[in-house]
Point group: C2
């Protein structure tokens, strides 16, 4: 690596990092992408892996596979633990230092338990493939335990599923768990009726999908209720343990509790030594750089930018903006402020229902679901993934089956 | 469960157990299938999951899904730790006892390290989906480590793959690792050439695939060598550690060592308290029952029957035989001895080459590979799996890509 070209180091192979790397594909720079996982994850479909609708490989792609034809890009599997913006170098968990000319930090977000880190054990969140497989194991094991027990009360605990957080992830999880219990599994158990499973979606605010207009929140609530989900709003969870949760002064026995209530920025934000917002995100300049360091960019969920949501399209736009700005700097141009273009947002609710707002148009029901499906499959990385996911969807639509129903034991390797 | 019908308990949802259960689908009995995993695994394709060619869900299917329409069958997720043949009951790991009228023990085989259990840590075997994912992680991480290091010697260690055992599993693993290094990954690394990876297949006997005629063993060896595998025969491994192996008086530095050299029967054989053979398999009567207990059957890899190989077709035939015998007993007929029908065997070597002997016909090369593919896809359980596996094969045949290349971190759930 004795190239005289400036080196652009990108931390994180999510949407922001990957699109930044791709944008630099013809640039006269050396691109180094670092991630502690070897794969990019298509996060909008992670809930499908968690609910056994898709396999892990169908929504993930090795980062080096995505960048294989990009001759100026090298991919390394490494966790970054320190950033020294004065010496322009980063340090890996193994103690190796790597210098940079430009740095793009795109390490994303992790789950936030609002000061209750002990809840994580009982209520796993959904940020990675491993998280999704952990949730999948818990959900499927709950049905197995319900079949094993002879105690009605015990069985009720295994057949109560609580999803905390009424944003898109929570709503999507609740809809998919309901589908599993009321359709997919109905023929398979002999000692109880899976249709009697309770699925609760609990939201602290006064409506679910609060970033959508009230009208669509209402539609979403009705669609979920039709699927058999009990939607509880205006209720804060005050306790979570192995056997259930406490909401207000109500105790709900539930052996499966899932967390979709909040995220905070990756701890790497702190390593930059610059001001953060309350969620730990970096308060970037208008061009997405860090104050005082025009060569350091923060993009994606780690960046705090007014009126920009924590969604994949925003991350993609930020990644591209940082890359374009670097390209401009190399070519002697000055930077421009980042401007977010809102192309809409959508959430799916069960097997053929969704809510969407796209450039001012509001959709719900089947039409929104069709739009959701089209757009998500279009943006999936890799032809193989698109083909298999489309096949899976068509199949599960007609058969109600969900094919990824493996409970894997945890074991080291 | 107060049915007056006799209860048939089947331990194990592999080929033998599952085919036994299916054979009893219209019988006037109550069938209870117990397995410590929730899924049946199509073992002949396990090496494809281990080498990133297929995803886990493509070769596994929930046992209760397979039996969902069989009204007389109940499936429970449970590990069996004791069998009391006098009281006709079994005990689960949780201490629950379950009575039976007929028992079919089909708990299969585990890896055998010939008195060196400490080798397992360094040389994982391939018996379950979890094993396959562990091997996949090791193989893929070895390439990542080779890209990370600057030390040529260190890199050589990461780029040396040793497969111990020249039976079908070892040969298939070696061929698939060679394909990965010489085709799939060649464009993706920047700091070394994956084509220079060494893949060694080490066999203690004087030829690989020793259950095949010498002529086919030879063909297989040449096919593997053409793929770039070094085949070493007549060499016993005397040492395995984290950094490599010792074969005879030769030390080979290798960070990835895989075990395909031998199996022994599941420990449940001992729980029966009857004579076992050297590999721990139960010496069954000619009708596959346990001496003195005409109501207890042992089938599949756990049964020791002269001239019957440890292959899927044999397990299927044994499972069917036990079920038919039970049906006969219920209807007042006497049992008949088990007769194995050899329909042939085959092993695949890389992407379009194989050896096969089918009813006396010996095939090698592309024709054998086409036969192998047809038969394996035909026997895969579940339409979805057949369709996706066929699609995967067609795609990887033309593109050389292997799509299941995720390195997942181990974490509890």
């Amino acid at each position: 690596m004795d190239s005289p070209r400036p080196r652009v180091v990108i931390i994180g192979g999510g949407f922001a990092g990957l699109y930044a790397a791709r944008t630099l594909r013809r640039a006269p720079v050396e691109v180094l992408v670092l991630d502690r996982r070897n794969h990019h994850v298509f996060q909008p479909l992670l809930y499908q892996v968690a609910t056994a609708g898709l396999g892990a490989i169908e929504i993930a792609e090795p980062i080096r596979r995505v960048l294989r034809t990009q001759a100026n890009a090298t991919v390394l599997l490494a966790e970054i633990t320190a950033i020294d913006t004065d010496r322009r170098q980063i340090t890996t968990a193994e103690g190796r230092t790597i210098g940079y000319d430009f740095l793009i930090v795109a390490s994303g977000a992790v789950d936030s338990y609002f000061g209750h880190p002990e809840w994580e054990e009982f209520a796993p969140g959904l940020k990675s493939i491993e998280d999704a497989m952990r949730i999948r194991r818990r959900i499927l094991l709950a049905f197995e335990e319900a079949e094993l027990t002879d105690d009605v009360d015990e069985r009720q605990g295994w057949q109560t599923f609580v999803i905390i957080g009424g944003g898109p992830t929570g709503a999507e999880l609740a809809g998919a768990v309901a589908e599993l219990a009321r359709h997919t599994l109905v023929e398979e158990f002999r000692r109880f009726h899976t249709r009697e499973a309770r699925i609760l979606l609990i939201e602290g605010g006064d409506r679910i999908l609060s970033t959508y207009p009230p009208h669509l929140s209402n539609k979403a609530r009705h669609q979920l209720e039709r699927l058999g989900v009990e939607v509880v709003t205006g209720s804060l969870v005050t306790e979570i343990d192995e056997r259930g949760i406490t909401v207000g002064d109500r105790r709900i026995k539930a052996r499966t509790v899932l967390w979709a209530a909040g995220v905070r920025a990756s701890p790497l934000g702190e390593a930059l030594g610059v001001p953060l917002d309350r969620a730990g995100r970096v308060l970037v300049e208008s061009d997405l750089t860090v104050p005082g360091h025009p060569e350091v960019f923060v993009v994606g969920d780690l960046a705090s930018v007014d009126a920009v949501p924590g969604l994949a399209p925003a991350a993609i736009q930020m990644g591209r903006h940082a890359a374009t700005t670097i390209l401009g700097a190399v070519e002697g141009r000055t930077s421009e402020p980042f401007a977010y273009v809102d192309r809409g947002s959508m959430a799916t609710l069960g097997r053929r229902s969704a809510v969407a707002q796209i450039r001012g148009v509001r959709l719900s029901g089947f039409l929104a679901w069709a739009a959701w499906l089209t757009i998500h499959i279009f943006f999936l990385i890799g032809f193989r993934n698109r083909a298999v996911v489309l096949f899976e969807w068509a199949r599960s639509y007609f058969t109600y089956n969900r094919s990824a129903r493996l409970i894997l034991l945890d074991r080291e390797g």
